[in-house]
């Protein structure tokens, strides 16, 4: 059993009313897997294009097939960059 902490921000936080989740899974999973689990547990997220959002693991941007280990912190990063 491994535990992964999920951090939510901005419009994701507004929509779900949550700042954090904890995923408990049997074995190491990829970022894609984690996103699928998160979307299943928070159906309201279908209102956002989560699949286009970048993801950071332990504060580093990673790709969708990055493997998550016990104790990892995954953050879903909505688009940034307002203002010229």
């Amino acid at each position: 059993m491994i535990e992964i902490k999920v951090m939510l921000f901005a419009n994701i936080r507004d929509l779900t009313g949550k700042e954090e989740l904890v995923l408990q899974v049997e074995d190491e999973i990829t970022v894609s897997d984690a996103l699928r689990i998160i979307k299943r547990s928070l159906p309201v997220l279908e209102k956002l294009p989560i699949d286009s959002f970048v993801v950071a693991v332990n504060m580093e941007y990673v790709s969708r097939n990055h493997l998550l280990k016990d104790g990892d912190i995954i953050a879903i990063i909505p688009p940034v960059g307002g203002g010229r």
Binding site: A10, N11, D14, A56, P79, V80, G81, G82, G83
Partner: protein, 135 residues
């Protein structure tokens, strides 16, 4: 100095932190909240950051800019929470022996900050709030 803070930004402190009598040029970028957005009156902005990661990325970005442009010191301060029109949301100071490098590094820093740093802003107008991005 890299700082993501709920408190008002002191421009003086940001500038002081890059002063160096070996540097002839200091360039300071100050981003302030505008009172209008798309012709609508802005009440305030709400900034939210993934603080630890933002600080880590901005530190890395600073090191990167120092190497790339040969500037000497860099300080970045970014507000979080409610920021009202006219208030400072971000300040970036760069000091360098010569000015050309300071301009290049400063521009690079603000563009990279806006693009890559996990800091979000929600704009509150009279009719409600909206998360803003150019992404």
């Amino acid at each position: 100095m890299i700082e993501i803070t709920e408190s008002p930004i002191s421009i003086e402190r940001v500038i002081e932190s890059v002063r160096d009598s070996g540097c002839g040029a200091i360039l300071v970028f100050i981003g302030t909240v505008r009172d209008m957005s798309d012709d609508k009156k802005v009440l305030y902005l709400q900034y939210e950051a993934y603080r630890e990661m933002a600080e880590k990325l901005l530190s890395k970005l600073s090191e990167d800019a120092k190497q790339r442009f040969g500037v000497k010191h860099i300080s970045i301060a970014h507000r979080t929470g409610k920021v009202y029109p006219g208030e400072v949301s971000v300040a970036i100071a760069v000091s360098s022996p010569h000015r050309k490098e300071a301009y290049e590094a400063s521009r690079y820093l603000i563009e990279s900050l806006k693009k890559e740093t996990p800091i979000w802003k929600k704009e509150f107008r009279e009719e409600g709030g909206e998360w803003i991005s150019t992404g």
